[in-house]
Symmetry: C3
Subunit: 185 residues, 3 copies
């Protein structure tokens, strides 16, 4: 045997484990509440260390692993059933929408090490992005301002600003252009 | 800032919002009930405006957003945890099976518009199809009669009749041929 | 019409159906219990016919269809919300980790037959593997010892020993090498 999981140890302190235990109970109770409970969810996230701007929306069923590793700017919307698996810090810029069933995955294992230790890397999502439903974002990824990620993409690499991207793995398809509002209205 | 979500407005009337509120409560109660409750689920869907043929099956955990935008022909089976996100109309032909964890997604956002308005397009699935588990179907897609879609495909374009298709994005792989029953039995 | 689902019959005996009915009730009660309930879950799985080695971990929310079709060697970990859809036998070697939201799918339909009968094929996962989160494994697949499968892959074919693989469909990317522990510590 080359791998020995018996020697794998938790990287978390007792205090962190205790805080996460309390957090899990709190979130278990408020996460399923309907949409108008978003402001209650945000209050509790702030109480446990999240930095959250004004006018954000956290829909029902969102799962957040470590509240003190979450930074949201103003007017961020997180769709239902999205999971923020944030051993690393997840930060999201203003006016960004994360649609339902997305998965922001900061955690991984060092599979070259015989004890398979837990490792993680931060995820940074810019402002004015749209992460469409069912998207999966890998550890360490940086998504530029204004990027659009197509539904159910797997984002393994950094994404350029104001690009429309999709696929498994996710690749830039075209530039995102915003219509002049005078023309549309 | 190019994007201004503050100016995004709901496209739904008060009456639609009220009907959907009542529907959500009703469905919350009957959706998790076990398989034999399928006939009760179908009765309630019809009461809220779905057009459903005879001998259909709606398994536990199926989520349907707008019941009056659902049309099922005879003998359609919808597998557990499938989500029908039907701002647009979803219509499914007879003898078609949708397997578990599929996602029929009619909704999107116009990401070229600074207010990111909700948009949608209908999904049409033919008769005698099999949509295998975990498949995701995009807005506006038309799936031909007799098509087979492999597990966890992402269907972004129309699918020809009697074809076997799979992938991310989903592409035709071969023709679907049905064995002569005299030979098999 | 070429397809006639009315003539599709269940391949399961009354005894199997009854055992699965009881199993579903039992598992419905113990599956959502928190992590320390893993040992209770393992006791119940063994009672219903699973063969499970020592020091295994079954996280909350794991779904197992047919307990008597599950074989785990020592020190196997199954992450939360993983579904083991085991009409066929699923066997997993020692020191292997299956991360959250994976789907081990042994079931399919013979779509060339007009009655679309349920068919299945076994899944064999070797020792010392890591199946990362959100992976989907198709019927009949054999994953070699020490293989790493990247997050959200779709595994449609056999995977060689000690390879790192990913994608939709999943393909080998490189050899997996394990660091000499003297160097790291």
């Amino acid at each position: 045997m080359k791998i020995d999981l018996k020697k794998s140890v938790s990287p978390f302190s007792k205090k962190e484990k205790y805080s996460r235990f309390i957090w899990n109970i709190v979130w278990y109770l408020v996460s399923p509440l309907p949409r108008p409970a978003s402001s209650l969810r945000i209050k509790l996230l702030r109480l446990f260390g999240s930095k959250i701007g004004k006018d954000c929306l956290i829909e029902p069923g969102v799962k957040i692993w470590i509240p003190w590793n979450l930074i949201l700017d103003d007017f961020v919307a997180i769709g239902r059933q999205t999971e923020i698996y944030n051993y690393g810090v997840v930060s999201i810029g203003s006016m960004t929408v994360i649609s339902q069933y997305s998965y922001l995955c900061t955690g991984s294992h060092n599979y070259s090490h015989p004890y398979m230790p837990l490792i993680w890397d931060n995820i940074v999502i810019g402002s004015e992005c749209w992460i469409a439903a069912g998207t999966w974002i890998m550890p360490g990824v940086k998504i530029g301002d204004g990027a659009v990620i197509g539904a159910r993409s797997l984002v393994t690499r950094d994404i350029p600003d104001w690009s429309v991207c999709a696929g498994h793995p996710c690749k830039p398809l075209k530039e995102r252009k915003i219509l002049n509002i005078d023309i549309i209205d």
